[in-house]
């Protein structure tokens, strides 16, 4: 476009990017209170190294560790109408949006990406709880439809990491309509015979749980995640009694038959590789560290070929390393 958008803005962004310059080198575990050094925490995918508590992780940080060598490409999501109801509570909706965009550095509450995971092509979508509580508005519906369409094009599975306080009230009925819209996306995959795998993360609630988050071929949750339709406070007000310890936790839902598995974040990638490859009828993945993806070795090539080869150039300019 022009030098302002091509040069000045990225430069400014890089100066102020939170990811480049951590404001806080230490994070306190929400559960046990242990102080965790940021590098150590990033290595453990934001899981407390002391108590195993699974903390918030941003979609990009998740993708960096999900895809082979952290290489993935954003799947473009068609833009939704901004502020269709001209919604205003104590703040205007566009102001809330801008604040969320500033805080997260992302445009909206769900990111869609494609790449390879254990050499298995997949499309993945991740909801960002830091962005207006991950709330499901038109963007989330568009993202899931775009993700499903890309999965259909590539004949690959779709994996969705959910996290949301529910539907986005500021989009009124149009947010509610994302329940049927996202269901259409799931049906497209089902008809094409492509796996749709849901990973429920903390917290997944309301209209999100009551639509695409509960329609997976396989339902996996992260340990300790709160998963519900109505939240514990609403229920306590309705029935006027205290709820049992751990009610609506991932482990509680597993016991009640609502999930297939509860899997620790550190094991999630390997498990997803095993599951998607089986469902896609592919041979088992090669275990251990993957060699950097490069051109396939020719039959006569010797073992010393290209040890320091650059990552696959086909991943495009949006790729994150």
């Amino acid at each position: 476009m022009n030098w302002i958008s091509n040069y000045v803005r990225p430069t400014i962004n890089s100066l102020f990017s939170r990811r480049e310059v951590p404001e806080n080198l230490w994070t306190k575990c929400d559960s046990c209170g242990t102080m965790l050094f940021h590098r150590e925490l990033a290595d453990s995918l934001n899981v407390c190294t002391n108590c195993g508590h699974h903390m918030y992780i941003a979609p990009r940080a998740r993708f960096d560790r999900l895809f082979d060598n952290g290489i993935y490409r954003d799947v473009p999501v068609p833009a939704a109408l901004a502020d269709p109801l001209q919604f205003r509570d104590q703040k205007r909706y566009p102001d809330r949006m801008r604040a969320a965009q500033r805080a997260t550095g992302e445009a909206e509450a769900m990111l869609v990406a494609e790449g390879e995971m254990g050499r298995t092509p997949v499309v993945a979508a991740a909801q960002d709880f830091a962005f207006m509580a991950g709330s499901m508005g038109m963007h989330v519906g568009n993202a899931l439809v775009a993700g499903a369409e890309r999965a259909l094009d590539r004949r690959s599975p779709l994996i969705v990491f959910t996290a949301a306080g529910g539907a986005r009230m500021q989009e009124g009925i149009l947010s509610l309509m994302q329940m049927p819209r996202s269901t259409v996306a799931v049906q497209m995959l089902r008809e094409a015979g492509l796996p749709y795998i849901v990973v429920l993360t903390h917290p997944t609630t309301g209209g999100v749980t009551a639509s695409y988050a509960m329609l997976g071929d396989i339902q996996i949750a992260e340990p300790g995640a709160l998963i519900c339709f109505a939240g514990p406070r609403v229920i306590e007000q309705t029935i006027r009694e205290k709820l049992p310890e751990g009610f609506q936790s991932a482990e509680y839902l597993l016991e009640h038959g609502m999930l297939d598995r509860v899997t620790a974040r550190k094991d999630m990638r390997d498990e997803l590789i095993v599951i998607t490859r089986m469902l896609m009828g592919l041979p088992p993945a090669i275990k251990g560290e993957l060699p950097p993806p490069g051109p396939a070795p020719k039959p006569e090539a010797t073992a010393d070929a290209a040890p320091g080869q650059a990552p696959d150039a086909g991943a495009g300019t949006d790729a994150k390393a």
Binding site: D89, G172, I173, L174, L176, M177, A210, M214, F229
Partner: protein
């Protein structure tokens, strides 16, 4: 006994006075009060018209929840013949918040599914105020699949404050049950038409209202969250429900503009509760029209049209 809403109090006074005058005249036949009573009637009629000409969104919510509004079972009794209720989800229980079964609509066999709120304390408790548990949604899925197998159109009547937020409901998979019901609405290869007759409360309503054609009664509402719930979250004060009702754009008129509702069924002056029979008839006429409009379509066309309708939503914005 007419049940008056808070904003109808002035009307209640005038109608009460007219009634008092007539009662006095019945006791003393020599009194001539008719002209005075008729004047009061005219005043009441004017006031009713003015009150209902432009109801605020919050008042619409109140009318939509009016205790004298016709309920699901009233529509089923009046509009369907040979109604044969079919019970249970085959897993756990029969949910009385959801009525359903096979019946004839204008002689044609259909599956009808309706929320039922109940009309007095005993029936409201029995029907759980129209708040379904997972069993209600699973019963609906079973009935929709039955309709699909036997080529019967599905008619749903929506009137619920929302899905029941209870401990057992959560343990038995309320969210999954709602998701499967919406999934069934979109998956079946027969026509599905829906009318929101009162309250369309969030996910509990979506599970039935996802349809080829959806009509709303003039003063019904359909919303992602109740105005009270929205107010307590965004305004941190549940008393701000009037503001929340305005902001949510939950009226039939706004939903028609947004392309979520296909048609609006006019209500008699003063709301459905003032002429129950007339309201039910109008709903019947609209159901007939909606079914007729879908009668030439085969399975694939019905499914494709439904998907296209929902995927295409969100292209129109409302003016402030």
């Amino acid at each position: 006994m007419t049940h008056y809403l808070d904003f109808e109090k002035p009307l209640a006074e005038i109608e009460g006075k007219a009634e008092e005058l007539r009662a006095m005249a019945r006791a003393n036949p020599e009194m001539d009060i008719e002209s005075e009573a008729a004047a009061l009637d005219r005043k009441a009629a004017d006031m009713l018209r003015d009150l209902y000409k432009k109801l605020t969104p919050w008042r619409k919510c109140q009318v939509a929840r009016h205790p004298d509004r016709p309920n699901g079972k009233d529509y089923i009794a009046a509009l369907f013949s040979e109604y044969t209720p079919l019970a249970g989800d085959r897993n756990f229980a029969d949910d009385h918040a959801v009525m359903g079964g096979i019946a004839r609509f204008e002689d044609r066999p259909v599956v009808v599914i309706a929320h039922e709120k109940g009309h007095d304390t005993a029936t409201r408790l029995r029907h759980n105020f129209g708040m379904a548990r997972p069993e209600g949604y699973r019963k609906a899925v079973r009935l929709m699949e039955l309709a699909d197998r036997f080529g019967m159109p599905v008619v749903t009547l929506v009137d619920t404050p929302g899905a029941y937020p209870g401990k057992g409901a959560e343990e038995r998979g309320q969210a999954e049950a709602i998701a499967r019901s919406t999934d069934a609405c979109l998956r079946i290869g027969v026509p599905i038409v829906s009318v929101i007759i009162g309250e369309g409360g969030s996910g509990g309503a979506v599970a039935f209202a996802t349809a080829n054609r959806m009509a709303m009664l003039e003063h019904s509402v359909y919303s992602v969250i109740s105005p009270e719930g929205c107010a307590s979250i965004l305004w941190k004060n549940a008393d701000k429900m009037r503001e929340a009702a305005e902001a949510l754009r939950l009226t039939a008129q706004d939903l028609k503009q947004l392309g979520v509702a296909d048609t609006i069924i006019p209500e008699p002056l003063g709301g459905a509760q003032r002429d129950r029979t007339g309201t039910i008839e109008r709903v019947g006429t609209e159901i007939g029209k909606m079914l007729k409009g879908l009668s030439g379509m085969d399975r694939d066309a019905l499914i494709a049209a439904r998907r296209k309708k929902y995927l295409g939503m969100g292209k129109t914005a409302l003016a402030g």
